[in-house]
């Protein structure tokens, strides 16, 4: 689905005089939905109508829009005939000029109690008929009509009316309020109301505002039709923070109050954080060294934490591939993705390969990311998410639950105890062969030798009857991590040798490795073997294993001069050794 080409920052006047061109262009899109909208009040709303038609056609929605006659919105809500053409949505304009009384009464403003009761009656009728409504809230009178009486001013009237609208908004699910001034804020144009446009054309707001309101209404309709995006994929450098994490380091990237850039990125991160709270998947696609890039989230001003993300693709793959991986992991289609990246080359690459992805054409001003989120409203903020949507984000949730559990626990041991970690030990079989191979060949950190295996080599190991080769699956009360460890054992007469041992970093710090070591010790004890040898090739990435060995009583057999040679470590089982862990082992 192609979409209207918009360049950020948006200059509405670049578009507003090309209604005819854009309408023709939009009509090239196939129609997927039909929708009926009725505008009530708002005087001349021809431009709003046109832009709503254009934006919805670009989204595959053929919107039939009708307008009430010239006049104030609250007149028409009491007219039973408005229901005749069975609209799906009413848009009710409540404008300052509606409420100045035009008859010779003592009060310059209309009677609010009457207006209140007709609004309630209208809303209840729509609820019964399953029709959605959007009301504009009452804004400052920008036409500039002078106040007549202080204690019956427009200001006090508008506060009272907005209070009534807010009550309705909180009670009725079919109601949404919108603020015209808010829709028009954050764009580069002067005023959205012109006295001349009102008196000369009957336009209560100008053509730029009509463009933005048409867009806003289309976004709401998309939400009501369930056409909201599901995933926000974001780049990191100069997209979530200012600067390059690999060059600047976590303390010098720009995020937070100290710099203008940093303030914008903080606002952007806050917006994204709230999206994730809403059940929107947030994911990263960044070309970076992962261990360096993740440090960006350790900046003290970073609002987002790495655990907020449902999927993280930090690698040197092309971005369209990363986005496909994210979609596969989250089980969503490319058309559900909104992608932000400061680099036009990356955007173009994704756009060419995945035209279904919505990618805003932002500038180097990071504010344009926020503007694009506001303008496209890809996640349809006006429509309350369903319960199912909120639960969708299970992978984020399970990590978050763990964090919460850890925060509540008095000690890390207590946290682990409460986590109900289970390890299920199995042999390598045809069923888990592929995963075992992948784990062995991809894991760098908890990998004693980092020796990669070819398919036939692993196959030989699997079929070797003299030795014992184990895989293990790990789960806890929140998540099943699947197959996350392999141990290759060589059984000798007086020793068992651990030829290699690999474990996924996803299950670190859960005492899983200690439980597995304990299982190896049990195997040895059953065979009355008193020595466990272990091969270790030290690399830059697997240094953490050294402390594992020392902590668990291994002694290095001989000191090799060459760092990349095999080291041989030995655990003497004749000395009593306790292996403390919080894992239930199933076999």
């Amino acid at each position: 689905m192609s979409i209207m080409k918009i360049k950020f920052p948006i200059v509405p006047s670049n578009y507003v005089f090309k209604e005819k061109y854009f309408l023709k262009d939009a009509k090239n899109q196939p129609i997927l939905f039909k929708y009926k909208v009725k505008l009530l009040g708002g005087y001349s709303q021809n431009h709003t109508t046109k832009w709503l038609e254009i934006f919805s056609r670009y989204n595959g929605i053929s919107t039939k829009i009708s307008q009430s006659e010239w006049g104030p919105g609250y007149y028409f809500i009491s007219d039973p005939e408005i229901f005749n053409d069975h609209p799906d949505l009413f848009v009710v304009f409540l404008l300052p000029q509606d409420f100045y009384s035009l008859s010779r009464t003592s009060s310059p403003m209309e009677d609010i109690s009457e207006i209140k009761s007709s609004i309630y009656k209208f809303v209840k009728e729509c609820e019964k008929k399953k029709i959605n409504i959007v009301f504009s809230t009452l804004e400052t009178d920008l036409v500039g009509f002078p106040d007549i009486i202080k204690n019956n001013s427009f200001l006090s009237f508008s506060i009272d009316l907005n209070k009534i609208l807010n009550e309705i908004n909180l009670v009725y699910k079919n109601v949404l309020l919108f603020s015209i001034s808010n829709i028009c804020s954050g764009y580069e144009f002067e005023n959205y109301v012109s006295t001349r446009d009102w008196y000369a054309f009957g336009n209560p707001f100008n053509i730029n505002a009509s463009f933005l309101i048409g867009n806003y209404l289309n976004n709401h309709i998309r939400g009501l039709l369930g056409l909201s995006k599901k995933v926000l994929v974001t780049d990191l450098d100069n997209t979530l923070w200012g600067g390059i994490i690999g060059d600047d380091g976590p303390d010098r990237i720009k995020i937070g109050n100290e710099t203008p850039e940093g303030r914008i990125f903080a606002d952007l991160q806050m917006y994204i954080y709230h999206l994730s709270k809403r059940g929107i998947f947030i994911a990263i696609s960044s070309k970076n060294e992962k261990h360096l890039a993740l440090k960006g989230f350790m900046n003290e001003n970073s609002i987002l934490k790495i655990t907020d993300f449902a999927n993280v693709q930090i690698n040197w793959n092309i971005k369209s591939e990363s986005i496909r991986s994210i979609c596969k992991f989250l089980n969503v289609g490319l058309e559900s993705v909104f992608f932000i990246d400061d680099n036009p080359v990356e955007r173009e690459e994704v756009n060419t390969s995945c035209p279904e992805v919505l990618i805003p054409n932002v500038s180097d001003d990071p504010y344009t990311f926020l503007q694009a989120l506001k303008f496209y409203d890809p996640f349809c903020i006006g429509v309350e998410p369903l319960e199912e949507d909120k639960y969708r984000n299970r992978s984020i949730e399970s990590i978050k639950q763990q964090t919460d559990l850890l925060a509540k626990a008095n000690s890390y041991d207590e946290f682990l105890k409460n986590l109900s970690i289970k390890v299920k030990i199995q042999k390598i079989t045809d069923k888990n062969f592929d995963r075992a191979l992948q784990l062995n060949n991809k894991t760098n950190q908890f990998n004693f030798t980092t020796l990669r295996l070819k398919q036939d080599e692993l196959s030989d190991i699997m079929n070797d009857q003299n030795n014992i080769n184990l895989t293990y699956n790990v789960s806890d009360k929140f998540t099943n991590y699947g197959l996350t460890g392999i141990v290759f054992l060589e059984i000798g007469n007086d020793k068992i040798t651990v030829k290699n041992w690999v474990m996924s970093c996803r299950v670190f710090k859960k005492t899983v490795e200690i439980a597995v070591l304990n299982e190896v010790v049990k195997i040895a004890s059953n065979k009355k073997i008193l020595k466990i040898h272990l091969k270790y090739i030290s690399t830059i990435k697997n240094k953490l294993l050294l402390s594992f060995l020392k902590d668990n009583g291994f002694q290095q057999l001989r000191q090799d001069t060459n760092a990349f040679d095999f080291q041989e470590w030995v655990l003497d089982l004749s000395k009593k050794q306790e292996f403390k862990h919080y894992v239930e082992v199933l076999s």
Binding site: S13, V16, F17, K18, E19, K20, Y21, K24, S44, N46, H47, K50, T195, R196, Y199, A200, F201, N203, N206, I207
Partner: protein
């Protein structure tokens, strides 16, 4: 800016606004001569003129623009 140049610029503006290459404006061209020139289009044309020529018209002035000639005269007057 001469009236001839104004007519030329105005023609370009109409072509872009109506997305219609065949438009040729004359002094006496009115809304009747161009199919899509209705009251809605009139508002858009006036706003485009303001943007293009960098002028601002008040409520009374916009009511007088019945044909292209009147538009040219008013733009000429405002620009000089």
């Amino acid at each position: 800016m001469t009236k001839d140049i104004i007519l030329e610029v105005l023609t370009e503006l109409f072509i872009s606004f109506f997305d219609e290459d065949s438009i040729q404006l004359k002094i006496d061209t009115t809304a009747k001569d161009i199919e899509d020139w209705d009251s809605l289009a009139q508002v858009g044309i006036i706003l485009s003129i303001e943007k293009k020529f960098g002028i601002k018209l008040n409520s009374l002035e916009v009511g007088k623009l019945e044909n292209v000639g009147a538009m040219i005269d008013l733009i000429y007057e405002k620009k000089s």
